[in-house]
Subunit: 383 residues, 2 copies
């Protein structure tokens, strides 16, 4: 596949942006990415979003965002794969550039969730699950993940407190990230006494929703000399699984994450140990654990060990959630995959401040839709 | 751009399919297209859909459809650009194949609209318009098109009856199409006395909604010898415009249709007169008129003349809606763009029965999202 470079990145803080409309949020991130890239016009706009049809009464975000940012007329489209929408939008843009049909593309992930009543948001998030088989029976998305965590603890003998390092690490890293929603450190004691949400998932196992937008400007080979610090996308892979968890051969194995990461490793000629930064999809502690296992960082059932041994911290062998992750940067669902790429690029450029991973040269960003039904993996390398 | 071929087509009848779920509908069309293609496994699944988040409480259709049709694991994604979703999904698949990342792809457009109360469907369709600027002020999607038609009649001096040939032609062609929703001929008298919906749009100016799915199997160059009658996609282009009609320089000119078709003509090395079949987006009579003008088939303001002179019929110089069009085949919104391509391929293969355009060698399918905000144009040629 033809090489694709990241020329620019932009993001809004994740939070409650009641003063900004959906398109204004998207615009803020897009303008930041365009300014950062030095490109003023792109050949295509790819918008990742999940919930605007439900929560904002607005579809058709491709044309809407393109027009709002002054690119009326340009090719544009909206991509959705639940919480994997941002990653899927990047994937679509990578393919468009690799095809030769475009030289440059802007990807914007945007989500505006906090204007809506909580029960509406919960119902909307459940549309990531299988309506016929899961959601219509009253299972919320958090409940599905609670099933997984409970089952995992039962199968492998882990205690709830063994998951604490994932939350603690994410929060510690978010403190230094000005765009993060929860910039506050938490302790093992905080984790132990956090309010229960859906047993065994407590408040510190679950990522917070939020309003936010992130954007990247991608460009074809030959354009990278516009920057002194270009980052190259050396792998892009998507795999799927059954949406309904009970249809999977093993509910505790993210087959799509395994397949997607294996394809990405093969494309980039890398193995798990070659990744300096891994921005994974820690929507819940259990998702971080299952992702690490599926991507080959430990044996099946041993994910919590990586946290307990300190290997997931910025100084560890597999640093994750280095800017706070979904857990503490926040999870504006359709935008998350683009935030992950923005943060990976920050690390590769050496712009990650106090949570900079030393001499980071290879980063992997993995965005998950549903509880593992769509998994999008990108590997990025400093040129 | 690398050539992409259409190896298979499939569709369900458009109608009220209360006995089939969303994924079952998608599967019926997908299985038909796969069987027609001779391909049993594809590298990617692209689903075009607009309303499932609103009307079916289901997002994440890429993984859902892939799993349902037995392709669990394969790359999959959902694409949305309002009523242009089907065409946009085809565009995404064309780019994926052209990139070299995939050899084969399945595109499925699916929509299930008739299980919902009418007011919910009307509200959901309004999300194709600009929420802040149009829909939140109470303007339905039909009303927006009524503004356009009224303004057009005023600006150019046409009477309502001058639009009758568009409805009459579409219905006449649908009679012979077993997959069409309204297989009944209508007369000028029927048109004149049809019930008013949103003045001046009456029942015979407006396309009916419906449940339905259509699918195509696309493949890279070198695969076309699988069929004796391969069809090649020789142009693929998308352009956008402001969603809000009042933001456009001229509300009566579909700038995105002009731009999109001009790009497509240039890619294929064709001019308007070279097109033997034009499957256009006749969601309303006025949209057919504006599309013909923007694509260069007549002077601005003269679209109705093409109908009055009999040029839009199967035997005319620019046959449109040859299988019934949106008006009479029906408009399952996110699926429509794929139906248009299926029908274009039927014409190029000589499978269009009583409405076969003689010696059709070049077809153009144009799918519109919103009232002209996203326009996707494909040109297909018989090899």
């Amino acid at each position: 596949m033809q090489a694709v470079h990241v020329l620019g990145i932009g993001q809004t803080a994740v939070g409650e942006h009641w003063e900004q409309s959906l398109k204004e949020l998207a615009g803020e991130a897009a303008f930041a990415a365009l300014a950062d890239s030095g490109v003023d016009r792109v050949d295509g706009v790819f918008v990742g979003n999940m919930l605007s049809p439900s929560l904002n009464r607005q579809m058709h975000l491709g044309a809407l965002v393109a027009d709002w940012i002054g690119l009326r007329g340009v090719e544009a489209v909206k991509i959705e794969s639940a919480c994997g929408s941002g990653g899927s939008a990047i994937r679509a843009a990578v393919l468009a550039i690799a095809s030769g049909a475009m030289r440059t593309a802007l990807v914007v992930g945007v989500e505006k969730m906090t204007d809506s009543p909580g029960h509406e948001t919960t119902a909307a998030l459940a549309t990531a699950a299988d309506a016929d088989e899961e959601a219509d029976h009253g299972v919320s998305f958090v409940a599905l993940n609670a099933f997984l965590m409970r089952r995992y603890m039962h199968a492998y003998g882990w205690r709830h407190e063994d998951f604490a390092p994932f939350s603690i690490n994410a929060h510690a890293n978010a403190v230094a990230n000005p765009w993060a929603r929860l910039r506050e450190a938490v302790s093992a004691e905080d984790y132990a006494r956090a309010r229960m949400i859906a047993d065994p998932i407590n408040l510190l196992d679950a990522s917070p929703i939020g309003d936010g937008a992130a954007a990247v400007v991608l460009a074809a080979d030959g354009t990278q000399d516009r920057r002194s610090d270009p980052v190259r996308i050396t792998a892009s892979a998507v795999a799927t699984d059954s949406i309904a968890i009970h249809s999977r051969a093993d509910p505790l194995w993210l087959a799509a994450a395994e397949r997607s990461s294996a394809a990405a490793f093969a494309q980039a000629g890398k193995k798990p140990a070659d990744i300096d930064v891994f921005e994974l999809h820690d929507a819940f502690s259990i998702m971080a654990v299952l992702s690490l296992e599926a991507c080959g960082y430990c044996e099946k059932g041993q994910g919590p060990r990586l946290g307990l041994d300190g290997r997931i911290t910025v100084g560890g062998s597999v640093p994750i959630a280095t800017r706070g992750g979904l857990k503490a940067r926040g999870h504006p669902v359709g935008a998350t995959g683009v935030y992950q790429m923005v943060e990976s690029v920050q690390q590769l450029r050496g712009e990650a401040g106090p949570t900079q991973v030393q001499d980071a040269r290879v980063a992997m960003a993995q965005n998950i839709g549903g509880s593992g039904a769509t998994v999008v993996t990108h590997i990025l390398e400093r040129d």
